[in-house]
């Protein structure tokens, strides 16, 4: 559906995005991760045709990007912004009309969305009288009201409490089920893991990782081990190559300097009767992210 092919963008000799290539198909969710200034928002702006790439091509359904496609895109910007003196209904209907969506249809569907997102307010509530979280939900409604085929969410989870994060994850999964292509950025790796089909990691404008989440994780060493039991005869310090240990009730997570040492630790733990549980852990996206950032920092040094 959406294809970014070898796209680059610079601002006054500062490289914001370099040779970026990825794809988002119908019903697929791509999580974009990266540090601040990695190029995530710049990428989104190029998809939205706010900025033109210096090189490469962005296509939707194999057609070059044009302003006509805006009606099929829903965008939730990182910087939230609403008309504070409008009511919820006025705000949502305005954005619906700007996306060439019928005012009548939007009006009928609004109550569904208010209930779905558990917005504390009615259609006539002024935006300025809503809490920040509820304002964010209203902005999400303006993003989705016109049933876009592609949804771009820039840091959608920021500022939300855990209950609302779960709600948003459910919405994203529902969109995926309905065949909507979703791209979102987040600093919270758990959210990315939970809902994404593919992950794209940007570091200093460059694409470092891209692919299905499990595939990406499998490329990295499994250097963590979870152990459970009574550590009387065999303590974590008995394992070679251990970098650190962390309590993870009811057991501990041990991090090793290599997968080989981690596997040796599992073997040793199997032979220890006081240890009742042991498994090799898949690296989390958080771990992978940190590892890559560290490698980049060492490279640049």
């Amino acid at each position: 559906m959406l294809k970014i092919d070898n796209v680059s963008k610079s601002f006054s000799n500062v490289l914001a995005v370099k040779n970026l290539s990825f794809e988002v198909k119908r019903g697929e969710v791509v999580g974009v991760v990266g540090q601040n200034g990695a190029g995530k928002s710049t990428t989104f702006k190029m998809i939205l045709n706010f900025l033109s790439p210096d090189a490469g091509e962005i296509t939707i359904n194999s057609k070059k990007l044009k302003n006509d496609f805006l009606d099929n895109i829903g965008y939730l910007p990182e910087e939230r912004g609403l008309y504070l003196d409008m009511t919820i209904k006025q705000q949502v209907l305005y954005f619906a009309q700007l996306h060439n969506y019928s005012k009548t249809k939007a009006s009928k569907e609004l109550s569904y969305w208010l209930e779905r997102l558990a917005v504390k307010g009615t259609e006539r509530t002024l935006i300025k009288n809503l809490s920040k979280g509820n304002q964010q939900k209203v902005q999400l409604i303006t993003t989705l009201i016109h049933k876009p085929k592609i949804v771009i969410l820039d840091e959608p989870f920021s500022g939300l409490d855990p209950v609302n994060i779960s709600l948003l994850i459910k919405i994203v999964k529902q969109l995926k089920k309905e065949g909507t292509a979703v791209i979102f950025s987040s600093h919270n790796m758990n959210n990315v893991t939970e809902v994404s089909d593919k992950i794209l990691m940007l570091v200093n404008g460059e694409q470092k990782l891209y692919g299905p989440v499990n595939q990406v994780r499998s490329k990295f060493e499994k250097n963590k081990v979870y152990l459970e039991g009574i550590f009387n005869t065999l303590s974590p310090s008995n394992f070679s190559g251990i970098l650190n240990q962390k309590d993870d009730f009811p057991g501990k997570v041990l991090t090793f300097n290599s997968e080989e040492n981690a596997r040796k630790a599992i073997k040793k733990a199997k032979a220890e009767p006081s240890l009742t549980g042991y498994r090799l852990l898949e690296p989390t996206l958080d771990d992978i992210f940190r590892r890559i950032i560290k490698e980049e920092a060492m490279k640049n040094a």
């Binding site: 706010f50 009606d71 965008y75 910007p77 305005y94 700007l98 996306h99 771009i152």
Partner: protein, 410 residues
């Protein structure tokens, strides 16, 4: 196209449903009504409070002065003017507001008045009336009859005809009225502009300052969004003009039989040609568009909501120049600066109408000036749309004026 009009409708609806918009529309009318009412009240107060004066002079002079028509004073002939001490006491006690001393040949005229009196000041009228009496006295001494004296004091009539530099005559029956009309148009334009420059600044700057712009430009391209904003603002101007027309029409119907009591409109409106009105109105409307686009350019550089007023105040300052120059041009419409600036967009609406009214410029000059302004409007619209589009995502810690200067000097 549909999206442009969605934006325009939103701009219009948002303002039209706001009470402050109606205050903005009615404020100039209220100002005029209060001004006229206050003037009338002062006039009435003055006419109700004629100064009561005693005349110390020859009996004939006393009688003659008493017979003359006066709106600011009344002669009290019952006062004993021979007893000077009693007179002083009467003045001090307020029995009379003033005492006028006139000697027999009018060579010495003194007026003493009570400073605490609330009556109108009759000095000018006394001066005029006593001068007439003096001229009559001197005419009589010279052996002239009453008729001969009347002929001497009658005003000479001067007929004026304007002829411009290329020999074509511009006939304006009432040049003074045309000038008043042009000044009225400049003042009305000034009121319009102060309001709409502020509205333009808010419409262009608020969305960027409140971070709404990204969500909006994901739905509608920046140049179309800008077009919608401008159309919405012109809808508001049109709506305001309709309200003024309706109020003007109603006012005319209510006051048409009464208007001479307040203001003699015929005196001011007669002699102004339709062509003159068209030129003045067109120049004013075009200048509104020019200033609005300029305000939009400044507002495009706003990064924070609090900078909007700073951005638009720069435009408001520029607007004062033609306003003041128009008064200068009234006294001398052929000043080099007036001649040149009457063709310069942004300035011409204040100067060309005055020059035409004074006969220093023709209607052809007016149409040339109008054409130049219309071309400038088109250029300014395209330029301002480009500036808006190029700055819609640029945020700076600098003030809008600094940001513009930086761009220009880059």
């Amino acid at each position: 196209m549909h999206k442009i009009f969605v934006v325009a409708k939103m701009v219009f609806k948002k303002r039209v449903l706001s009470p402050t918009y109606y205050w903005m529309i009615l404020a100039p009318i209220l100002l005029i009504v209060i001004g006229i009412g206050f003037t009338k009240y002062i006039d009435n107060q003055n006419s109700d409070h004629k100064a009561i004066i005693a005349v110390v002079a020859d009996k004939n002079i006393q009688e003659a002065l008493k017979k003359q028509k006066a709106s600011t004073y009344k002669v009290n002939s019952k006062i004993n003017t021979h007893n000077k001490n009693k007179l002083k006491i009467d003045l001090a006690d307020g029995v009379v507001d003033g005492i006028i001393y006139i000697n027999n040949d009018f060579s010495k005229v003194d007026y003493k008045y009570n400073a605490s009196t609330d009556s109108s000041d009759p000095t000018n009228e006394l001066k005029k009336n006593i001068t007439l009496l003096k001229s009559q006295y001197m005419a009589s001494n010279a052996g002239l009859s009453e008729n001969q004296w009347q002929n001497i004091i009658k005003d000479v009539k001067v007929r004026k005809e304007n002829v411009n530099y290329d020999g074509n005559t511009v006939k304006l029956n009432n040049s003074e009225s045309a000038q008043y009309f042009s000044e009225f148009a400049v003042i009305i334009a000034f009121f319009f502009l102060t309001s709409y420059i502020s509205i333009t600044g808010a419409e262009i700057g608020n969305e960027k300052g409140n971070h709404l712009i990204e969500g909006l430009t994901a739905a509608i391209p920046a140049d179309k969004h800008y077009a919608g904003k401008m159309i919405g603002i012109f809808y508001l101007i049109g709506f305001q003009l309709i309200i003024y027309s309706v109020l003007g029409g109603l006012g005319y119907l209510i006051l048409k039989n009464m208007h001479k009591q307040f203001i003699d409109l015929n005196k001011y409106l007669s002699g102004i040609s339709a062509q003159y009105i068209i030129v003045v109105v067109m120049l004013t409307v075009v200048s509104l568009a020019l200033y609005i686009f300029l305000a939009a350019i400044f507002a495009s550089f706003v990064s924070k909501v609090e900078d909007i007023s700073q951005a638009t105040s720069s435009v408001a300052s520029l607007m004062l120049i033609p306003y003041f120059l128009s008064f200068l041009t009234q006294s001398n419409p052929n000043l080099a600066i007036s001649k040149i600036l009457s063709y310069v967009p942004y300035m011409s609406q204040g100067l060309m109408p005055v020059r035409i009214a004074r006969g220093a410029a023709t209607y052809r000059d007016g149409y040339i000036s109008l054409l130049i302004s219309i071309v400038c409007v088109i250029i300014m619209y395209l330029f301002s749309a480009k500036v808006y589009k190029n700055n819609v995502f640029s945020y700076s810690s600098e003030t809008p004026v600094r940001a513009i200067l930086k761009r220009v000097t880059k």
